[in-house]
């Protein structure tokens, strides 16, 4: 049995998802390797894209001039985004491992981190659209990526974690619930920060 998936396995999600699922199912990945070789970069890329995009062009909200923020604020936002994604991805893997006990999945943390990396990849690639920071264009680009990620989660989880299709469907839905809650948390924390004077200036 191989203990390591290939270094480019997240990209396999785009071209040959079924083969990638089978490869991960047969492997027992080292958690530290997945974390430093994949998760870290997957969390960093969108933050870099958003920093470059908003520095060069400013955020277009749909009406009026683009919203331009000072470099210090942009750096803070990009760092916050990176940390939020890093915590989000690793905590999703931890939650997935915790849930696996209920749904009869594998216990290996590396497998859960690898699954999260796999599912996040389409969204991270689509986050290149942050280089053109127009809110609607971003929404439009991220929706198909999100659908692809959802497909990878529902189709990949039963194979990668060995739950079987039925329990895999239940576990994937429970994870979707957690991820939606995570997204709302991110949204609400951002808004609360804006209201307290961090980020875009609003008349509160």
């Amino acid at each position: 049995m191989r203990t390591l998936p290939s270094s480019w396995f997240p990209l396999g999600a785009l071209f040959a998802p079924q083969c990638t699922f089978a490869e991960l199912a047969a492997a027992t990945p080292d958690p530290a390797r997945i974390l430093f070789k994949h998760i870290l970069w997957l969390a960093l890329a969108p933050a870099v894209f958003v920093f470059v995009g908003s520095s060069l062009f400013g955020w277009r909200l749909g009406a009026g001039e683009p919203l331009r923020l000072p470099q210090e604020t942009l750096t803070l936002i990009a760092m916050g985004y990176f940390l939020a994604l890093l915590v989000g991805l690793t905590s999703t893997a931890a939650v997935s491992r915790w849930m696996a006990a209920t749904y009869g999945g594998r216990d290996a943390l590396g497998a859960h981190l690898a699954l999260v990396a796999l599912v996040a990849t389409p969204l991270v690639i689509a986050s290149a659209v942050h280089l053109f920071p127009h809110v609607f264009v971003n929404v439009l680009a991220l929706i198909p990526a999100l659908l692809w990620s959802l497909y990878l989660l529902y189709a990949g989880l039963p194979t990668v974690l060995g739950t079987g299709p039925e329990r895999g469907m239940l576990m994937a839905s429970a994870l979707v619930g957690c991820l939606l809650v995570g997204a709302v948390t991110l949204l609400c924390v951002s808004v609360a920060l804006w209201a307290s004077g961090i980020g875009p200036a609003i008349g509160v």
Partner: protein, 476 residues
């Protein structure tokens, strides 16, 4: 002695019709927000009138008919007796449909009390009160005549729905009639606002949450073919839910003329509400986790699984949006619309669809006509809900920032008109989402129609009392 199921079948049928009417109206007004001239200058097709028809048709037509039907179905089976006063049950079913139909027509004609989710004018308010009290009489008399001692938890939730909605509706509708089509609220100013949102939020709470939890607690164990994961937790969640929900209404009135302590109380109680909401979600998720084998054969269970995920989302998002520093940006934006629909589409509609796919074949003693069609419906409903929520998150956050943007001299940077014009792409996306969801509902209507067509309702007799005691917890 037989259960009175024909009235249940009629209510389910009407609920499906109202789902189609209400969702079609929703899709039409979504299109009007992209192409405003779609009203063709005809007042009955204007956004203001059609929007009220949309909300009334889906909440009171689709939602309440489903709740009334499932309450009548489950109360008989959990009490092991047929419905008390079956003619009164038929009166409730028929009068409710006539009320919603005539009420909907009155909204299109321009009659309105002007209160959100309570737009219908005083003649309808009186009719609703009479039908609702009759519903309560049938339901509670059936419980009073029960053949088994325990009252199963679904009946506690349905009971709370009936009592609290009666209280809210009657108090909020107190008004001075001026003409047949116009009345003025008995309350004035800030008091009127507080009473309205005490009604409005608890209509969400006890109808769209509590009532549907009654549906969940009966139909989930039935579909999973196993008892609820923790019965004790369900009772605890019921009382915590009932106690805390009733205080949460003032979070609709942050930064308004009502006292600040009332706003803070509403916010704190909204946050407290997260605990009982998630207790129920955990109970549901753990119940279904042990019934995974059923997913092989039962398309209905998928809807219930997803409905629990969206229930978790909506009941988390609500308390977060009630925090004043979040609400200051999210209020008066489409984020609120997205939140409402994550609950309405993802939770209420999904659990109702799942329940109907389970219930209708059993009512007529025949398998569902097409499992494949039900599976397609599932993916359409999921895609529609996700797209809707994402589009409204994008629109809402942009709107929140734009409403509050100030220029160098402290004036508002953007006009209302400019901001609304910039929202058109999001509204187009929402229209697509609505069409997907509506298409799924049409498939369900056809599938259920083909399942029941030409078949009689199966006659079912209550089990003997000796079988009943153990059945209450295990098989209720």
């Amino acid at each position: 002695m037989r259960y009175h199921d024909p009235v249940v079948r009629a209510l389910v049928f009407c609920s499906v019709i109202w789902a189609l009417v209400g969702m079609a109206a929703g899709v039409y007004i979504a299109a009007e927000l992209v192409w405003p001239t779609l009203d063709f200058g005809w007042p009955a097709l204007s956004y203001g009138r059609l929007r009220a028809l949309h909300t009334n048709a889906v909440i009171f037509g689709f939602g309440v008919s489903a709740l009334m039907g499932t309450a009548f179905y489950s109360v008989q089976r959990t009490c092991h007796v047929p419905l008390a006063l079956p003619r009164l049950a038929w009166f409730c079913a028929v009068a409710w449909q006539l009320g919603v139909a005539a009420g909907g027509a009155s909204l299109l004609a321009g009659w309105t009390g002007g209160k959100e989710y309570a737009e219908l004018e005083w003649p309808f308010d009186i009719a609703i009160a009479i039908v609702w009290v009759s519903f309560g009489v049938v339901f509670f008399l059936t419980i009073a005549r029960r053949a088994v001692r325990p009252i199963y938890v679904s009946n506690w939730f349905y009971g709370a729905l009936i009592i609290v909605i009666a209280m809210l509706h009657i108090v909020n509708s107190l008004a001075v009639p001026v003409t047949l089509s116009k009345s003025y609220s008995l309350f004035a100013g800030a008091q009127d606002a507080i009473v309205q949102w005490w009604y409005g939020h608890n209509a969400v709470g006890f109808l769209l949450t509590g009532g549907f939890l009654g549906m969940l607690y009966y139909f989930l164990p039935k579909q999973a073919d196993r008892p609820i994961w923790s019965y004790r937790l369900s009772i605890l969640a019921f009382w915590a839910f009932t106690y805390s929900y009733i205080w949460a209404g003032p979070h609709h009135l942050h930064y308004s003329a009502i006292p600040e302590w009332v706003q803070s109380l509403g916010m704190v109680m909204s946050l407290v509400l997260l605990a009982p909401s998630w207790a129920t979600m955990v109970n549901g998720v753990m119940t279904v986790a042990g019934a995974w084998q059923k997913l092989k054969t039962d398309p209905a269970l998928k809807f219930i699984v997803l409905s629990l995920a969206f229930y978790g989302l909506a009941t988390f998002e609500g308390p977060m949006m009630s925090i004043r520093s979040v609400n200051v940006v999210s209020h008066f934006t489409d984020w609120t619309i997205g939140h409402v629909h994550s609950g309405a589409l993802g939770w209420n509609a999904m659990i109702t669809f799942g329940t109907f796919y389970f219930l209708v074949p059993r009512l007529v003693g025949a398998p569902l006509r097409s499992v494949r069609l039900a599976n397609i419906h599932f993916w359409l409903a999921l895609a529609g809900t996700m797209l809707y929520v994402l589009a409204m998150w994008g629109a809402g956050v942009s709107q929140g920032l734009l409403w509050l943007a100030l220029d160098d001299i402290g004036e508002l940077s953007f006009s209302f008109k400019d901001i609304m014009a910039s929202m058109a792409p999001y509204y187009a996306l929402r229209l697509v989402a609505g069409l997907l969801f509506f298409a799924g509902a049409v498939l369900m209507a056809a599938n259920l129609w083909w399942t029941v067509r030409g078949r009689c309702t199966v006659a079912v007799a209550p089990p003997s009392v000796a079988d009943a005691a153990g059945a209450m917890r295990g098989e209720a």
